[in-house]
């Protein structure tokens, strides 16, 4: 396995062997270790000293299903700390199949220099001029690239928001149908890519298979058990393919945890109009696809294709977080408008969560009325035009709050929270506050442990047990994201062997023993590296706090505030 290093200043490309210290690493672990090792913590995130690191998961490209996960890491221009943003699509498998563990982009080109980094089927990397592609939105870009490079490539790219180096800019990557609709949205990594003058990463697909599985038979046997469990589980085998992640709308809304109108309420009165059940009915009636394979090697098919009344494609995939950020959070109950906003964000290269919350903060500040979807569309379009207002929206909720001198801004470390209000699911308060990533839901999703009254023992509105639940989940997820296992495929752990089956696969690949303590140590090691970077970048415990609105404003219908004390927050990572 090798690492490709590209210096955008000198245009030098070198192939390096993986350092022994990185053996067994992939995904988030690899990006975070490289960032912590190589990036000066106090550097300008958009300057030459930052690194943009792309890494497939350790198990990407292996026979295990749902492992085509791609980690992108850098110092974040949004949070000022370390960032790993995780995305599906096809690129992780393509890189892993070529034996490439990571691509490191460093340096900075001169002004008006723009490039495409191409890796051909033999793993050879070249930089080519992309001056004629700069300025293009992502759908037009990838369509044109098919003419240049042929149809069989994974394309990872930025849109106008990344080119403008805005802090909510995403990195988009193509799905199995070649559309740039999968987003590494969080943390503004599109801006880092833009600062490197890199418009796109084009990886040629080939028929090679990842090498380096020491005991392929054992690996395959374990992978079969895992895949069977994923298929047999009702959630990943039936619910997600039929309703997608949007199935969460009704559930989280019922629990009073659906942040509505910039988190002034916990329930959206028109949630049924934007629910997964409604979305599926609309898609079916118009001839779209409720089930769609967005990522390579996926057997869940939680993606969808949302179409208009004429059956014409609007977007893929319409997901829970976007339905919230562009729906309830801005008081909008028009699912067609949400779908259009989702497409616009993918096309312009924007994080749908940060962008929706930025619009919500502007509306809350009185700039426009909640619920006006046309206004939201216009505000997002402004980002692509690069107007003053567009730049403010494109820089995320904190920039909007500052501009309007409005203090109800639901961010942690500059990054907005996601679709679970921490006042109604207190465990999410711990994750949002303490994750090295800033307000991030995937870092430690403890919603199930809080809300499932039949299985859980935690009171969602109380503090007891929340720190431990968040800590354990964050450590587990750091390991999951290092391995490159899809979050939703964790139903594959529901076998008699449980997670031991995954340990066996890691061991079968590496040829070394791997047990529970190795898994926990891996997760802790990754988080420690991230915390270390953030500390050196100037973060203190004071940044591990939620905005005052969550401590001071009771959230209807439960009328609770966050009750996790600072002391409890600080005990989360006491290692």
């Amino acid at each position: 396995m090798k690492i490709i290093r590209v210096d955008m200043g000198t245009k030098t490309i070198t192939n390096e062997d993986m350092e022994p210290v990185f053996t067994g690493m992939g995904g988030r672990g690899l990006t975070s270790f490289i960032i912590n090792d190589e990036v000066p913590p106090e550097c300008d995130p958009l300057g030459p000293d930052n690194r943009l690191v792309f890494a497939p998961g350790y198990l990407s490209g292996s026979p295990l299903v749902n492992t085509c996960r791609f980690s992108i890491g850098a110092k974040s221009p949004l949070t000022g700390g370390i960032k790993e943003s995780n995305v599906g699509g096809t690129v992780a498998c393509d890189l892993a199949n070529q034996g490439i563990s990571a691509i490191i982009i460093e340096g900075k080109p001169g002004p008006d220099e723009y490039y495409v980094l191409r890796i051909d089927g033999d793993g050879k990397a070249t930089l080519t001029d992309a001056g004629n592609l700069w300025g293009k939105r992502t759908y037009e870009l990838v369509s044109g690239m098919k003419d240049i490079y042929g149809p069989d490539n994974s394309i990872t790219c930025i849109g106008p928001a990344g080119e403008l180096q805005l802090s909510a800019a995403s990195v988009q990557t193509t799905d199995r149908d070649g559309r740039p609709c999968r987003a590494a949205g969080r943390g503004g990594l599109g801006a880092v890519m833009g600062s490197k003058g890199l418009k796109a990463l084009v990886i040629e697909k080939n028929a090679k298979k990842a090498e380096g599985i020491k005991d392929r038979k054992l690996f395959k046997d374990c992978a079969k058990i895992f895949a069977k469990a994923v298929k047999e589980d009702e959630f990943s085998g039936e619910t997600l393919p039929e309703l997608g992640t949007a199935v969460l709308v009704e559930a989280i809304n019922a629990a009073g945890a659906f942040p509505t109108r910039n988190a002034r309420e916990g329930q959206f009165e028109n949630a049924d109009k934007i629910s997964g059940e409604t979305m599926a009915r609309i898609i079916r009636s118009r001839g779209g696809k409720t089930s769609h394979k967005g990522c390579e090697h996926c057997i869940i098919n939680c993606s969808n294709e949302y179409v208009d009344e004429e059956g014409k494609y609007i977007t893929s995939s319409l997901e829970y977080e976007t339905i919230w950020s562009m729906g309830g959070m801005i008081g909008n109950d028009d699912l067609d408008a949400i779908a259009r906003l989702d497409f616009l964000c993918d096309d312009i290269g924007l994080d749908t969560i940060s962008t929706g919350v930025a619009v919500a903060v502007a509306m809350d500040a009185g700039y426009k009325s909640f619920g006006d979807a046309d206004v939201a569309v216009r505000m997002v379009e402004e980002v692509a035009k690069g107007t003053d207002l567009g730049k403010i929206i494109g820089n995320g909720p904190d920039a909007v709050g500052k501009h309007f001198n409005h203090h109800r801004v639901p961010t942690v470390k500059g990054q907005s929270i996601a679709a679970y209000d921490p006042r109604a699911i207190q465990g999410m308060a711990v994750t949002y506050a303490t994750s090295p990533m800033g307000g991030d839901h995937t870092a430690g999703w403890v919603v199930d442990q809080n809300l499932e009254a039949f299985g859980g023992t935690i009171d969602a509105l109380g503090s007891e047990g929340q720190v431990e639940a968040s800590r354990n989940t964050q450590i587990h997820m750091a390991a999951i994201d290092t391995m490159g296992i899809c979050d939703f495929a964790q139903t594959g752990l529901a076998t008699p062997e449980g997670i031991n089956n995954v340990y066996k696969m890691i061991s079968a690949k590496s040829g070394k023993a791997f047990a529970e303590e190795d898994w926990t140590n891996l997760g802790i090691k990754v988080i420690k590296a991230e915390l270390e970077f953030n500390k050196k970048a100037g973060f203190t415990k004071e940044q591990d706090r939620l905005p005052k609105m969550f401590y001071e404003e009771p959230l209807p219908p439960h009328n609770k505030v966050v009750v996790i004390s600072d002391k409890e927050m600080d005990a989360t990572f006491d290692f």
């Binding site: 009702e234 959630f235 990943s236 039936e238 619910t239 039929e242 309703l243 992640t245 199935v247 969460l248 009704e250 559930a251 019922a254 629990a255 009073g256 329930q267 997964g276 059940e277 829970y320 839901h441 995937t442 999703w445 919603v447 199930d448 809300l451 499932e452 009254a453 039949f454 299985g455 969602a460 979050d487 939703f488 964790q490 139903t491 219908p557 439960h558």
Partner: protein, 79 residues
């Protein structure tokens, strides 16, 4: 007693002509619990992740009362 029961996710599939707007009207004996309701609906415990009466999360032993609005959700997973 009569209960208004709404089912989410895939749970309604087992009920022909389920009305998503109105849910189900279910009659149970006085004193019945949430668990009794699940048994009546033939929804196994593993398929019911979250049950609410009104806006309140409830456990399996919770007693139901006349006219209660019950919402049943599958186990949650995601992010």
């Amino acid at each position: 007693m009569n209960l208004n029961v709404r089912l989410y996710g895939n749970l309604s599939r087992s009920f022909e002509n389920y009305d998503s707007a109105g849910g189900l009207i279910i009659e149970l004996p006085e004193g019945a619990s949430v668990n009794d309701l699940l048994v009546h609906l033939n929804i196994s415990r593993s398929r019911a992740g979250m049950v609410l009466i009104g806006d309140r999360l409830v456990k399996k032993d919770e007693k139901l009362c006349e006219g209660a609005g019950v919402r049943i959700f599958q186990p949650l997973f995601g992010g």
